[in-house]
Symmetry: C2
Subunit: 366 residues, 2 copies
C-alpha cells in the first residue's frame, strides 16, 4: 500500500470529481486514470484515504468525494501547475493593455478573471491609505464649485467637488453632482482668480509631494498657515477634502465581476447558493476575508487558497477562494481573486489569478 499511490489516487479522485461532478468509484478510477492496478486495490487505498479524512462518500453505495481536507492536500502537494495556454496569455496582455486608467484596468482584471475561471471575481482596489499623493489639481467649475482631482502613486484618480460658497466648513459637502449655475464668470466671490489658485495648487503640491497620508495633515497645515488670509478657508477646505478622500472613503472599495456566472448551470453549489449570494453582498466581510488572506497566505507561490470551512464565513462553507496580492515589487497594495465552489479547477484558477496579479504588479505605476 504505497504512500505514493494513495496520493495518486487522491489526485485522480479530485480531478475526476472536479471534471464530472459525480462521486467517483473505484472502477472508473482505474479506467480513466492510468494507475495500473485493479479496482480492489484502489478500494483499499480509498478506505485508507477515507479513514484519514481526505475523502468521504455521500451515501453508502456511491463513489467518493473529496473533503475540504482532501482538496487542501491536493492544492498543497498534488496540483500540477498548469500554465496558461498561449492564447490565454495573449488575451490577458491585450485585454488589459487596452485599459485607459486604473479604474478601467481593475475592472478589466475582474472581468478577465471571471471569464477565465468561469467564476466570480473579486478585486480590491489599492488602498488609498497606503498610497502617496502624486498630484493635486484644482479646477473651477461653474463659478461656485471647485473640482479637486487627486492623483495617487498607484495611478488612481479621485475627483471630488468642493462647494466654495461656504468653503469654511471643514466637513466637505456631500459632493452631489447637481446642476451648478451654467456659465458664471470664473471670478465668483468664492473662487479666487487663476493666479491665486495656481499658486495655491503649487504650494499644496509642493507640500504633499511624495508624502504618505499620515504626514499630509501636518504638511497641509503649514501651507494653510502660510497662505494669504482670504484664502485660508478655501485652502483648509481643500486640505480637509483631500485628507478625507485619501483616508476614509474608499479604503474598502471592492468590486465583483462575473456574478452572473453564479446562475450558470455548471457551477451550481451543492446546496443552496443563496447563502453564497448573501456572503458576496456582505462586502465588509468579504474585504475582511481578503485582507486576512493577504497577510497570511495559506497557499503557496503568492496565491492563497481558502477551501470551504477554512474561510470561517457561514455562507462560504461550500466555496473556495483563490486570491493573490498585487502591487509593485512584492509591495502588496491590494488583492484580487476568484470565488467558486470547493469543487473547482484549482490549478486553472490559481494559474489565472496569478497571471493577472502578476500582470497588474508589473504594470501598475509606482
Amino acid at each position: 500500500m504505497s504512500e505514493e499511490r494513495r496520493l495518486a489516487v487522491l489526485r485522480a479522485i479530485v480531478e475526476d470529481y472536479v471534471h464530472t461532478r459525480e462521486p467517483v468509484g473505484s472502477r472508473v478510477l482505474t479506467e480513466r486514470h492510468g494507475l495500473g492496478v485493479s479496482p480492489a486495490t484502489i478500494r483499499n487505498d480509498m478506505a485508507a484515504l477515507e479513514e484519514a479524512g481526505y475523502i468521504a462518500q455521500p451515501h453508502t453505495s456511491a463513489g467518493r468525494v473529496p473533503t475540504d481536507k482532501g482538496y487542501r492536500l491536493f492544492v498543497d502537494r498534488l496540483a500540477e501547475v498548469r500554465p496558461l495556454t498561449a492564447p490565454q496569455r495573449r488575451a490577458i496582455e491585450t485585454f488589459l493593455s487596452e485599459a485607459v486608467d486604473l479604474d478601467d484596468i481593475l475592472g478589466r482584471a475582474g472581468r478577465l478573471i471571471a471569464q477565465l475561471t468561469g467564476q466570480v471575481a473579486v478585486v480590491q482596489y489599492p488602498s488609498l491609505r497606503l498610497s502617496g499623493l502624486r498630484h493635486l489639481e484644482l479646477v473651477p467649475v461653474g463659478g461656485v464649485r471647485l473640482l479637486v482631482v487627486v492623483i495617487t502613486d498607484t495611478g488612481r484618480v479621485e475627483q471630488r467637488y468642493l462647494d466654495v460658497t461656504g468653503a469654511a466648513d471643514a466637513e466637505p459637502t456631500v459632493a452631489s453632482v447637481e446642476s451648478p449655475a451654467p456659465d458664471v464668470a470664473a471670478d465668483h466671490p468664492g473662487i479666487p482668480d487663476e493666479g491665486s489658485l495656481g499658486e495655491l495648487r503649487a504650494r499644496l503640491n509642493a507640500a504633499a509631494a511624495g508624502k504618505r497620508l499620515s504626514e499630509l495633515p501636518e504638511a497641509f497645515g503649514r501651507v494653510v498657515a502660510g497662505v494669504a488670509p482670504d484664502l485660508v478657508p478655501l485652502a483648509r477646505g481643500i486640505a480637509d477634502l483631500v485628507v478625507d478622500t485619501l483616508g476614509t472613503q474608499s479604503e474598502e472599495r471592492i468590486v465583483l465581476a462575473g456574478t452572473a456566472n453564479l446562475a450558470r448551470a455548471d457551477m451550481r453549489f451543492e446546496h443552496a447558493l443563496s447563502p453564497v449570494l448573501e456572503a458576496l453582498e456582505e462586502q465588509v466581510v468579504l474585504l475582511g476575508l481578503l485582507t486576512e488572506m493577504a497577510t497570511d497566505p495559506p497557499g503557496g507561490a503568492g496565491v492563497g487558497v481558502r477551501i470551504g470551512h477554512e474561510n470561517r464565513l457561514d455562507g462560504l462553507t461550500e466555496a473556495s477562494v483563490v486570491a493573490s496580492g498585487y502591487g509593485t515589487d512584492g509591495d502588496t497594495v491590494a488583492i484580487l481573486g476568484s470565488i467558486g465552489p470547493t469543487r473547482m479547477d484549482y490549478p486553472g484558477t490559481i494559474a489565472s489569478v496569478r497571471a493577472v496579479a502578476r500582470y497588474l504588479s508589473r504594470v501598475l505605476p509606482n
Copy 2:
C-alpha cells in the same frame, strides 16, 4: 359579459400569476379578488380572453397564464401606478446623493434599480458624443507623460495618459498604466514648463468652451496653428487625444448591475436562463435594444416596456425590459432600465425605474 369585468379578470390573472407564479384558475380568482361573481361566470370570461389571445393554459386542466399580449394590455391599460413607498423614496434620495461623481452615481443607480426590482439593471452612460466639453486639464506626471483630464457637460470625467516622448505621432499611444521613471524633474524635454503648459491649457479651454464634439476639431486646429512652433506636436497630440476620447471610445458604455439576481430562486425564467445570460453579455445587442427603446417608447409616461417577443432578441423572448431615458429637461442623454422575466411586477418595476430616472434627470449637471 361586460367588457369591464373581462378586463378586471385579466388584471386579476396577471396580478395573481405574478404573485404566485402558478397558473390561476377560476375559483381562486373569485376568492382572492373581489369580483362578486361565480367561478362559472369567470370561466366564460376566461374563455373569451383566451379566444382573444390574452391568456393561455399551459395544459388542458390547469389555470390560465397571461400571454405576452395579455401583459401588454395589462401594462397599457390596467396597471395601476403604484407609487413607491416613502422609505423607498428616501432610500433613493440618500443613496444616490452620496455619490461622489458621475461614475459613482450611475453605478449606484444601477445597484439601486437592481435592488428595488430584484432584477438585472442596465445603465447606459451619457453619450460623450452628445455632451460638450466643460473643462480640460493637463497634469504632467513623472516627467514623461501628461495626464489629460476631460470634464464634460454631463459631469463625466475622463482621464487619459499622453506619452510625450514622441508626442508628434497623432495616434495616441494606448494609454497603459505603466511605470514611468519615478521622480524626474518636470522640465523634461518633452514637457514644457508650467507657464507654457498653463497657456496651452488656457487656449485649449477657451477654444473648446461649450463646443460640441463636432465643432472641436476645427476649434482645436486653430489653436494648434496659433501656438509656438515647439509646442505644436504636443498641442496636436492633446487635441487628437481629446477628440478621440470624446468621439469613439465610450459612446457605447453600458453597465449591468444585479446580475447575481439571476441566480435567485424566485426569479427563475420559465425555461433555461442561459440564453438570457448570453443575451446580457452581448452588450452591443443590448445597447441596440436600449437606444431603440429610447427613440420609440412603446410604453407610457416616459418609461418604455418591451415584453417577451417584442424585443426581437432570441435570448430575451421570456424576458421583459422596462427602461426610461434620463437627462436634463427631456433632453434624453442615455437610458437605464431593468430586465426580468415576463412574469414580473410591472407596476413596481416601472415605478422604480421612473423614480431613479427622474432623480438622475433632476440631479445631473447641465
